[in-house]
């Protein structure tokens, strides 16, 4: 599912390229959630920011962070990927995500359509092992924990643990085939 944020902004009479303030963030979160009434389990929701220049931290906290938390629901998991994000938007999102982790000790991350400041296709504070695995998935697209273990040198149990935590924050996708979980990028 693709959601064009600029179109959504026009529908709420915002012509500015800047999406700012908590009240605006709440409006967008509610609008996006309404669109997600029809989302399928494991669907990738692409938020396209073409035409938008700035999201401030208040907007990010109310809209993006709450959307990420919603995506982690067990009964209806979905994935979020950001598309056409400006550098300043990325900087603000990264700041909020890292601050959230430092204050809450709860990891969150979000997929990007391009390589970001972290040198990976995501925004978030990942460990070196997690980064390696996300990078490996970007290249190999569809792999099991066993294959990851043989590439990284981790034992299978450890690889599974990292993969599960990346899946829990919906930074990677998971599917089950013949009793084996396979992982792929968002």
């Amino acid at each position: 599912m693709m959601i064009e944020i600029k179109k959504m902004a026009k529908s709420v009479k915002i012509s500015s390229p800047d999406l700012i303030t908590r009240p605006t963030g709440r409006i967008f979160y509610n609008r996006i959630m309404k669109k997600l009434d029809n989302v399928h389990p494991d669907e990738v929701v692409v938020l396209d920011f073409t035409g938008i220049k700035v999201l401030d931290t208040s907007f990010i906290d109310e809209c993006i962070i709450n959307l990420l938390k919603e995506s982690q629901r067990e009964d209806l998991p979905f994935y979020v990927r950001l598309q056409n994000v400006s550098d300043s938007m990325e900087s603000n999102i990264e700041f909020v995500i890292k601050s959230y982790f430092s204050m809450n000790n709860e990891k969150i991350a979000i997929a990007l359509d391009r390589m970001g400041r972290s040198q990976g296709n995501y925004i978030g504070a990942l460990s070196e092992a997690e980064k390696d695995i996300v990078d490996f998935l970007m290249i190999n697209k569809h792999v099991s924990a066993r294959e990851i273990a043989s590439y990284t040198g981790f034992d299978v149990e450890n690889a599974e643990k990292i993969l599960k935590s990346l899946y829990t924050i919906r930074l990677i996708r998971r599917s089950k085939e013949n009793e084996t979980y396979y992982y792929s990028p968002v």
């Binding site: 915002i14 500015s16 390229p17 800047d18 700012i20 303030t21 908590r22 009240p23 605006t24 220049k53 700035v54 401030d56 931290t57 208040s58 990010i60 906290d61 400006s86 550098d87 300043s88 938007m89 900087s91 603000n92 700041f95 909020v96 601050s99 959230y100 430092s102 204050m103 809450n104």
Partner: protein, 298 residues
């Protein structure tokens, strides 16, 4: 109405930066207790945005406490022109004996707009969100002139974030309205871009009064904490001031915050090898609210 019997207080030339404006803050109690009739600004040679906005707040505090407007007298023509250009008198806080001759008004054009006129940020969410949107639209339109001496990538977008975050703090935390003003000014070959965002609300310390989990030794240390840690007095976390500080660090600018009786000054452009270049001050003369100056030099 102006108090007809009080004295006129002559102000020193102390509006060149936030530090010199302290000498005017020191006199605010006297202005109210002695029911000063007005201020003589004949010695003022220059006013930068932080002093400008705080002079307006000082007048508003006087008006609220006494029900009378302060008179401003002996205004040098260039200062009068600047005050009029910045819409200083539009807020109905000061009385002046003589208006400026119409021929002397500074022209308003896109080319001369290296500033944002003093704009009131309401204390209520709904109205405030609208005004902040308008402020940012105006800033974007004028940003090429305002920021013409600075070439950092994405600098306009960064300052949109700074303005948005700081203005929101007014309606979120201060429980009063405030003002913003922006200007780029030059002295010789040195250029300064300054944003002043100030309110006369409860201040940072009081807004954290019910946050028992946030510990601090002094008011200035609390201000430093909210600049460097994502704390909020209302929610679990607050990112605004912290991100503003991070942006100014990236742009190598400076941040000055004065709240009630404490201040912090962080000079990112002076930082070298591990030194923080931040200066904390406590036990300053109390001045209601939070007063922020964000600057970039060239």
């Amino acid at each position: 109405m102006v108090n007809p019997t009080g004295n006129i207080l002559v102000l020193n030339d102390s509006m060149k930066d936030p530090y010199s404006f302290e000498s005017i803050i020191k006199q605010q109690d006297r202005i109210v207790s002695e029911r000063i009739r007005g201020i003589d600004v004949s010695r003022i040679s220059f006013i930068e945005p932080y002093s400008l906005v705080n002079l307006l707040l000082l007048g508003r505090n006087y008006l609220r406490q006494t029900g009378e407007k302060l008179l401003m007298v002996n205004i040098p023509i260039h200062i009068h022109q600047y005050l009029a250009r910045m819409d200083f008198f539009e807020h109905g806080v000061f009385d002046i004996k003589e208006g400026l001759d119409e021929k002397l008004f500074l022209k308003r054009s896109n080319q001369s707009s290296r500033l944002l006129e003093i704009t009131e940020i309401p204390g209520k969410e709904r109205e405030s969100v609208k005004v902040i949107g308008k402020v940012i639209t105006t800033f974007r339109k004028r940003s090429r002139n305002i920021l013409k001496y600075w070439f950092a990538p994405n600098i306009i977008d960064y300052f949109v974030t700074v303005i948005s975050e700081l203005c929101q703090n007014i309606f979120e935390h201060s429980l009063d309205s405030g003002f913003i003003a922006i200007q780029t000014y030059s002295m010789g070959t040195d250029h300064t871009f300054r944003i002043a965002i100030c309110d006369s609300g409860i201040g940072i310390r009081e807004s954290f009064q019910n946050k028992k989990d946030v510990s601090f030794e002094s008011s200035a240390q609390l201000i430093e904490k909210v600049l460097t840690t994502p704390l909020s007095s209302k929610r679990r976390f607050g990112y605004g001031l912290c991100q503003v500080n991070a942006i100014m660090e990236e742009l190598r600018g400076s941040v000055f915050i004065r709240s009630q009786d404490a201040s912090i000054s962080i000079m990112h452009h002076r930082k070298k090898g591990g030194s923080t270049y931040s200066f904390l001050k406590n036990e300053l003369p109390p001045f209601p609210g939070t007063h922020i100056s964000i600057s970039l030099g060239s």
